[in-house]
Amino acid sequence: MTEAAYPITETTTAAHEPAGRRPRGFGSIAIFAALIVLAGVVLIPILATALNGFKELGDLQANPLGLPHVWVWKNYWDVLTGYRYWQVLGNSLLIALLTVALTLALSSMAAFAFAHLRFFGDRYLFSYLQLGLLFPVATAILPLFIKIRDLGLLDSYWGVILPQVAFSLAMAILLLRTAFRQLPSELLDAAMMDGCGYFRYFFYVTLPLSGPILSTVAVISFVNSWNGYLLPLVVLNSESRYPWTLGLMAYQGQYMTSWQLVLAFITLTILPAILMFLMAQRYIVAGLTAGAVKA
């Protein structure tokens, strides 16, 4: 599954339309209607969540899927002016950014070594790292917890970041090594001839030419970290360090029966992801699907 450069990036932007002609007449209307219905089914839960955050509990109970009778801004306002919301988002952002930075640094260096250097046992080492693709974090979560505890990283950001990086390495190294090898080998030959070492080649040629694949890796590891739940759940105890996924569950646990508050909190916590998605849709779709396809 390693086609040239980017099978999905250009295509999802409808650069060239695929096989088949524009459906006409009745068929086209039926398809359009079916798509509208399906889009409604997909969007209603999200829209209902956002709208219900504007209701009083009574209004919410009487009329869960309609517009609010009276728009209550207080639910949202209280979340936005409290420190809790900003704290969980800040924690998530910090954890995700450090995870992405470390993943990019470690995986690009290792992938470069695997792409260009021949050494004893290189294939075995590469296969060893690829074992990480075979199983999810959950399988080893208890021994991992013990390890994190013994290293003194329990209830710290690093206790979440380092395992996240470790588990994203396999996929990242695989994607990057393939991409690094697809750079023209004449470049490396010429650079070596001119006395440029591997270090400078890596920083001045490989990395600048690998923007798209590096951003794919970044998108995958950012989204995984941002949405991560199990690992922080096991590692973190203090609410002051909770990422938004844990913060959301804690908030729900506290205001269990006041759905209007919980729904406002959900809306505001998923808002960054939705905004990012709308703004950088092409890159995110390409990153998440291309990563899957190429691996």
């Binding site: 295509t11 088949g20 459906p23 997909v42 260096m109 208890l142 270090f199 396809v293």
Partner: protein
């Protein structure tokens, strides 16, 4: 997910001193982190699985295969396995055909195709936890969608998430809602790589739309379908984040998956040995599937 590659041969280049320095600087950080946080814990899971251990001091109470033996007869664990199986069945029998059908609709030049693709993909970017909580509201018999339906029919409020016979169907609905857009996007990408002239040629030869789909589109989508099946199964095996906010494994432990079983019965009770054994079982299932599937179906891809 390729393992040892044989096809690529780097032109023989003697490893220079510069090459060695690079290797020594570039490789160890990744290897170290991977070994400490991925490989060792997995190996330790195999070891701890033979012990009855609460995580303090060192594992000393060796109990052989008792942890595994306990799992075999355990009704809750069996139910978890069945639930994982149900997710796989629904993914393959409902989600994949739906995703493929929708992909065929939105890959064409229907009005607003790009918008539809975006809308269908949107749930995939939301965290499972948020999706689970949103649907917990939707299924809440006193408030959400569920109350609208029972209200319209003049029925008593119905609490699906508290119904031990049907609660797991709620999990299946959320999985469908959240993941079909991802698979649709895979198929859209696959469809866009099909050469349109093949379909035009077939059309000129008088092939019906169904024949064109069955004999051209479907076979050419083969690699993408195999990939999509692979992700469905792997994703189904590790499902956890949706369970916690939606049902918490209840009612009466009927909605656990293997990972939520591991969480509720291993982690929260600090039964390290037992939880490790569950992890090992999950590991074996994942690895057997990954290798078996790739051997059987993905050799040419």
């Amino acid at each position: 997910m390729s393992t040892v590659e044989t096809s690529y041969v780097e032109p023989a280049r003697r490893m220079s001193a510069n090459g060695w320095t690079t290797l020594v600087v570039f490789l160890p950080p990744a290897l170290l982190l991977f070994t400490v946080f991925v490989a060792l814990p997995m190996a330790e899971a195999a070891w701890y699985g033979f012990y009855n251990w609460d995580g303090y001091n060192r594992p000393e109470k060796f109990i052989g295969l008792k942890n595994y033996g306990y799992l075999i007869g355990n009704a809750t664990f069996t139910r978890s396995l069945i639930n994982n199986g149900l997710i796989i069945v629904v993914s393959l029998l409902i989600q994949l055909p739906l995703a493929l059908g929708v992909a065929l609709m939105v890959a064409g030049r229907i009005a607003g195709a790009a918008w539809f693709r975006m809308i269908f993909f949107l749930p995939y970017v939301l965290a499972d936890v948020a999706a689970g909580l949103i649907w917990r509201f939707m299924f809440d018999g006193g408030f959400g969608l569920s109350s609208v339906i029972t209200g319209a029919l003049g029925l008593q409020p119905y609490y699906l998430l508290a119904d031990k016979n049907w609660a797991f169907s709620a999990v299946l609905i959320v999985v469908l809602w959240k993941y079909f857009g991802f698979h649709m996007m895979l198929y859209v990408a696959g469809l866009q790589n099909i050469d349109p002239s093949l379909l035009e040629a077939a059309e000129m030869d008088g092939a019906s739309p169904f024949q064109r789909f069955w004999h051209i589109t479907l076979p050419l989508l083969g690699p993408m379908i195999r990939l999509s099946v692979f992700f469905s199964v792997v994703g189904a095996l590790q499902l956890f984040d949706i369970i916690v906010p939606l049902t918490g494994g209840g009612p009466f432990e009927t909605t656990n998956t293997m990972v939520s079983y591991l969480y509720y019965f291993g982690i929260t009770r600090m039964r390290v040995g037992f939880g490790s054994a569950v992890g090992v079982v999950l590991f074996l299932i994942c690895v057997t599937f990954a290798f078996g599937y790739r051997r059987l179906f993905m050799r040419d891809d």
